[in-house]
């Protein structure tokens, strides 16, 4: 019997060169335009879970009461526990639950912005999902990325997660009041951070001490003044 071989279809290659974060970056640019037009300083707070982001924010909001109008976008995989802590300060807060996702994206932030009175705000804090990897890659439309690390995490976080530290203009060290109880060398920590971001401001804070967050508050005030003068 004659065997008729089926002709195989040739494989075709199609060149795309499509940026993977194209859609996110387009929406982030829209967010940035809107926020700049409203004169709001927007900060994207990135850290590991448990570094003290929410505690620092609560203390910050209380300290700035009557001085600046603030709002918060809270990103967590689940629960509104952090949003309730923020809401207790009387500041407007929008909770985003990212479910399976380990970071906030520009689309989620765009929707959250519709719930805020942007014209009335001076500062908008976006508390990202606790994670030092993916949040670094997703632009949300912020003016600055802020990276936080508690001194219980060790000196070398910046070189283990270099992209987050490289992209953040300021590095906030938290829980400085624990220094006497830890084997943590501040100069080593600063030297590591310097390796991946020589221009970075490094601020030492302690949310539980009187005046413990002054360096951070002053940094905020300077940033806001610069923004208003632009």
């Amino acid at each position: 019997m004659e065997h008729i071989e089926k002709k195989q279809q040739p494989v075709r290659t199609i060149i795309l060169d499509t940026p993977i974060l194209d859609e996110n970056n387009r929406v982030a640019a829209e967010n940035r335009t809107l926020l700049q037009a409203s004169g709001v300083l927007v900060l994207n707070l990135i850290s590991s879970p448990g570094s003290g982001k929410t505690t620092l924010l609560v203390e910050t909001l209380q300290a700035l009461q009557g001085e600046l109008c603030c709002a918060v976008i809270e990103g967590d995989q689940q629960t509104d526990r952090d949003a309730r802590r923020i809401a207790a300060t009387g500041v407007p807060v929008v909770q985003i639950n990212t479910r399976q996702s380990c970071h906030l994206d520009a689309f989620q932030v765009q929707r959250a912005l519709q719930e805020l009175q942007l014209q009335e705000l001076d500062v908008l804090f976006i508390e990202n999902v606790g994670n030092l990897v993916c949040p670094a890659e997703f632009d949300l439309g912020e003016a600055e990325k802020v990276v936080l690390m508690s001194i219980t995490e060790g000196e070398d976080k910046s070189v283990k997660y270099p992209l987050a530290f490289h992209l953040a203009s300021v590095f906030v060290l938290t829980k400085m009041d624990l220094l006497p109880y830890l084997r943590f060398d501040l100069e080593t920590c600063k030297a590591f951070a310097h390796q991946v971001n020589p221009d970075q401001d490094i601020l030492q804070t302690s949310s539980f001490r009187p005046d413990g967050i002054e360096p951070w508050l002053n940094w905020l005030r300077v940033k806001l003044t610069n923004l208003k003068n632009e």
């Binding site: 494989v11 199609i14 060149i15 795309l16 940026p19 990897v133 490289h166 390796q195």
Partner: protein, 110 residues
């Protein structure tokens, strides 16, 4: 996961436009200094491709190394992600030339 979804969506859209019946390979460029971990992406891709034109596609990931430019030496150098400064002069002003890529380079199919 959202990155894997985007990749599959972009690949399937291109496949439909080019009348491919199925995708056999998706080639990505994920720079060494990007926030995407290839292992995690491959895992997510395995879930996301089910029921799509990319169901049997292989994922090929190219990882361009980190390439920096020292503004003081005016020289290019291979970057160490743990220390981005210029190894020659320890210069602290540099530009990233490559290593931040996040691209769907191409697809192949029949």
């Amino acid at each position: 996961m959202s990155i894997a979804e985007y990749i599959v969506r972009a690949a399937c859209e291109a496949a439909r436009q080019n009348r491919l019946a199925k995708i056999t390979r998706i080639t990505l460029e994920i720079g060494r200094f990007s926030g995407v971990e290839p292992g995690a992406l491959e895992l997510a891709f395995g879930y996301v491709r089910k029921g799509t034109l990319a169901e049997q596609a292989q994922l090929e990931i190219l990882s361009p190394p980190l390439l920096l430019f020292c503004k003081r030496c005016e020289m290019e150098y291979a970057g160490d992600p743990e220390d981005l400064r210029c190894p020659t002069c320890l210069g602290e002003e540099f530009d990233i030339l490559a290593g931040r890529e996040l691209l769907v380079k191409s697809i192949a199919g029949i």
